[in-house]
Symmetry: C2
Subunit: 112 residues, 2 copies
């Protein structure tokens, strides 16, 4: 995740959440989606993304489906059932993290 004020550990949650929303996505598509949604603020590097996808797959949270489009390879990932459950947990953790950080660094903020 380059030039981007990111915190380690959040990449997996981003991947899971996007897949939950989009159904299925391939790696390159994820990098572009994140760039779009954050107006360039977050740039996921391939060196971080692909190993992360492989690991989530190895953990049984993602399934892969290979496709060939315009003579180029795409690996579509989607959540398994276990992945769907884990996504709920990760999002809850992220929200809890954000709330905790707000308690620490800025009690004036609140999520509504």
């Amino acid at each position: 995740m380059a030039n981007s004020k990111l915190y380690k550990g959040s990449l997996n949650t981003i991947i899971l959440k996007l897949l939950e929303e989009q159904g299925k996505m391939y790696g390159y598509e994820i990098t572009q989606k994140v760039k779009d949604l954050t107006k360039g603020e977050l740039n996921i590097t391939e060196g971080a993304l692909y190993p992360a996808l492989h690991k989530l797959e190895a953990e049984g949270l993602l399934d892969v489906e290979v496709a060939k489009v315009d003579n180029r390879l795409r690996k579509y990932y989607k959540l398994t059932e276990a992945g769907e459950k884990e996504t709920v947990n990760r999002l809850a953790e992220l929200e809890e993290f954000i709330r905790s950080m707000q308690q620490l660094v800025n009690p004036n903020w609140s999520i509504k």
Copy 2:
């Protein structure tokens, strides 16, 4: 940071912000303060905290002052001028991170 849904990179920001608020604190005090503020959600481990304090000091962001209380050692840390400026930057980065994450994982949230 044990058993705690934390994201790597946030510890420094937590330290800086607490020192900004409290003026000066010693290591053990920081661990307890974080535990209190987050109702036990976040537990800073000593193995993470002390090296982080030493590094922030080496970077010129913190000053140390040793004290002896009840025959026990305490090392009080406080922000240097450079530390105060950096704290502003780190907090801005954290806020930006939170906003970006919200764009990604939950557009329904908003900071107010």
